[in-house]
């Protein structure tokens, strides 16, 4: 991990209401370059809302999100125009969805899925795009001769790896992941986690990983936020928090893990 003076992301009092209902409330945390932050909590606790609000897919009702951009320096996401947000999301940010079918374009080939971000950034040279596609397919361990195949023909694990490649092709600094291992069998999960750890180390990537799987949290994340009813109830270093949970809900969560 490379140490820097400034965090990558600083969230202050972020709140999202859906009418009267709370999506997430008073979320504050910092994320540092190269850090993997886990967010756990039962379903309906506002984890996905938090990710969507963070990436401005949903506009927060209140709160400030500061991001230290490589190109623009310190930016307040709330002050950016929609086109600037979109630009940021496809250059310095990435979003890996739980269901790869939402994060991928299922009607175009794997190669086109990986190349899309490059083309959106104005790369107009087919040969160069193709080269990047090959490189990233190799990096996420998909046979390069599958480049022209439709994602429909891929297995669940391959789809998730393809989605990661599609996001990483522009070398983002921050990737948000919503249940990246959801629905995958255990051996595929393990390979995916290995891959993510390698990518984090290689590119000094910061990850925010939403999951309800404590094993994923233990293996992947450095720091952990526990959410309940839209609020953070406990936060700290992952190992510390899992070994010595203070909040009753965290205790319940940790004790609910089935030991094999």
């Amino acid at each position: 991990m490379i140490f820097s003076k400034e965090p990558l992301l600083k969230v202050m009092g972020m709140t999202k209401y859906f009418g009267d209902r709370v999506g997430c409330r008073d979320i504050s945390f910092e994320l540092w370059p190269g850090e993997v932050l886990g967010i756990v909590g039962e379903s309906g606790s506002g984890k996905t809302t938090l990710l969507n609000t963070l990436s401005y897919h949903l506009e927060p009702t209140r709160g400030i999100i500061l991001y230290w951009s490589e190109q623009q320096g310190l930016v307040d996401l709330g002050q950016l125009s929609e086109s600037q947000i979109r630009y940021l999301m496809r250059t310095e940010w990435g979003m890996v969805r739980q269901n790869p079918r939402e994060g991928l374009r299922m009607r175009v080939s794997a190669g086109a899925n990986i190349g899309e971000r490059l083309m959106a950034l104005g790369v107009r040279h087919y040969g160069r795009i193709r080269k990047e596609v090959q490189k990233w397919l190799e990096r996420v361990e998909i046979d390069t001769d599958r480049a022209n195949d439709l994602p429909e023909t891929f297995s669940g694990g391959m789809l998730q790896r393809l989605q990661i490649a599609r996001n990483l092709v522009t070398q983002p600094r921050l990737v948000l992941m919503d249940e990246p291992t959801g629905g995958l069998d255990v051996s595929v999960q393990a390979r995916l986690l290995d891959l993510l750890r390698a990518l984090v180390a290689e590119f000094n990537l910061s990850l925010i990983v939403v999951t309800h799987d404590l094993a994923v949290v233990r293996l992947l994340t450095h720091r952990l936020l526990v959410m309940r009813h839209g609020e953070i109830v406990e936060s700290g270093l992952t190992d510390q928090l899992l070994d010595d949970p203070h909040h009753p809900y965290t205790q319940l969560l940790v004790s609910s893990v089935i030991q094999v």
Partner: protein, 317 residues
């Protein structure tokens, strides 16, 4: 195109009588004004799709109701109308539209591209270069060039607003990786005035270069989708491509079996059951004019002409 009409124009077509009881050019004046206002807006923002209150027409959707409504909104008693379908003046769609306007306006109809003031077209731009003062009206089935890649209308509108056009290149990328070249043969997307990506309607990509800096006004009407867009005269229109796979038009190693043209867009016609085939101009007016100007037909050309006539079921050409 001219002011409100007081008098019914003089009958010019001998075969079809002017239909009583209809307003000039079928649509009521209010609707025509609404369409003309939309057209002004469309011309002011080249390539940008403007919604309009598309009306029910006496021809079914898919038969060029968008183009027909634009023509109806613009046509005046002095206009000379040409209607083509796939380049031909004498196919069903073109004939039906011409009949509608002859019955409701009595305007003069022509097949000569250079004589027409209004040209309504489906799937082609005439080979004869258009001039200043002419208006070409395209019938458009799907005005949204991003539609097949992004089915959500709010999303495509946003993409246009933000000029967020990476997705369009995904389509071209797919073509090259599947076919080794950009295989999109028609509805080849264009960038209008360096800003909006627009669909040129289903014309062959052969016609795309004709749109660039065309002296005539180009109007596009989609009746079912309720959209109008426009390209004003002398506007830059660029066909999208990659640096290492530049835009190219179709080429034939054949020439037109009737007029011998090597420059025009050719249709392939099956001659017999033995797999015999020949190529002829898709633009019937262009082909006809070349034949009139040129030498007498050779025996082989006579055979070819007969085959084409049989194919098109037309005795008079």
């Amino acid at each position: 195109m001219r002011g409100p009409l007081k008098l019914q124009p003089k009958m010019k077509s001998k075969s079809v009588p002017l239909q009583e009881g209809y307003n000039f050019a079928y649509l009521d004046e209010g609707t025509k004004r609404m369409i003309r206002r939309t057209l002004l807006k469309a011309i002011a923002i080249p390539g940008h799709q403007i919604p309009f209150g598309s009306r029910e027409m006496p021809l079914p959707l898919g038969w060029g109701t968008g183009g027909i409504q634009i023509t109806a909104a613009l046509i005046g008693p002095d206009d000379i109308l040409k209607v083509i379908d796939q380049g031909a003046d004498d196919t069903t769609n073109a004939i039906s539209i011409k009949k509608l306007f002859v019955k409701t306006t009595g305007v003069q109809i022509t097949e000569r591209t250079e004589k027409a003031t209004l040209i309504q077209t489906r799937h082609r731009i005439p080979e004869t270069p258009l001039k200043e003062g002419q208006v070409i009206i395209y019938q458009v089935p799907i005005p949204e060039p991003l539609r097949f890649l992004e089915p959500r209308e709010p999303e495509t509108r946003k993409m246009h607003a933000l000029a967020d056009y990476g997705l369009m290149y995904v389509k071209l990328y797919e073509d090259i990786s599947t076919h080794g070249r950009i295989a999109t043969a028609f509805m080849y997307p264009v960038l209008v005035h360096h800003r909006y990506i627009a669909s040129p309607s289903p014309i062959p990509r052969f016609d795309n270069p004709k749109m660039d800096r065309m002296p005539a006004l180009q109007l596009f009407g989609a009746g079912r989708e309720k959209r109008i867009y426009a390209i004003p005269p002398y506007t830059t229109v660029k066909s999208l491509d990659f640096e290492d796979y530049p835009f190219e038009i179709e080429k034939w190693d054949q020439q037109c079996a009737l007029c011998g043209s090597r420059e025009s867009y050719l249709d392939e016609i099956i001659k017999d059951d033995q797999g015999g085939r020949l190529f002829v101009c898709s633009d019937t007016d262009y082909c006809q004019q070349r034949r009139e100007k040129g030498k007498n037909a050779s025996p082989s050309e006579v055979v070819a002409m007969k085959a084409v006539r049989r194919k098109k079921g037309d005795e008079t050409t």
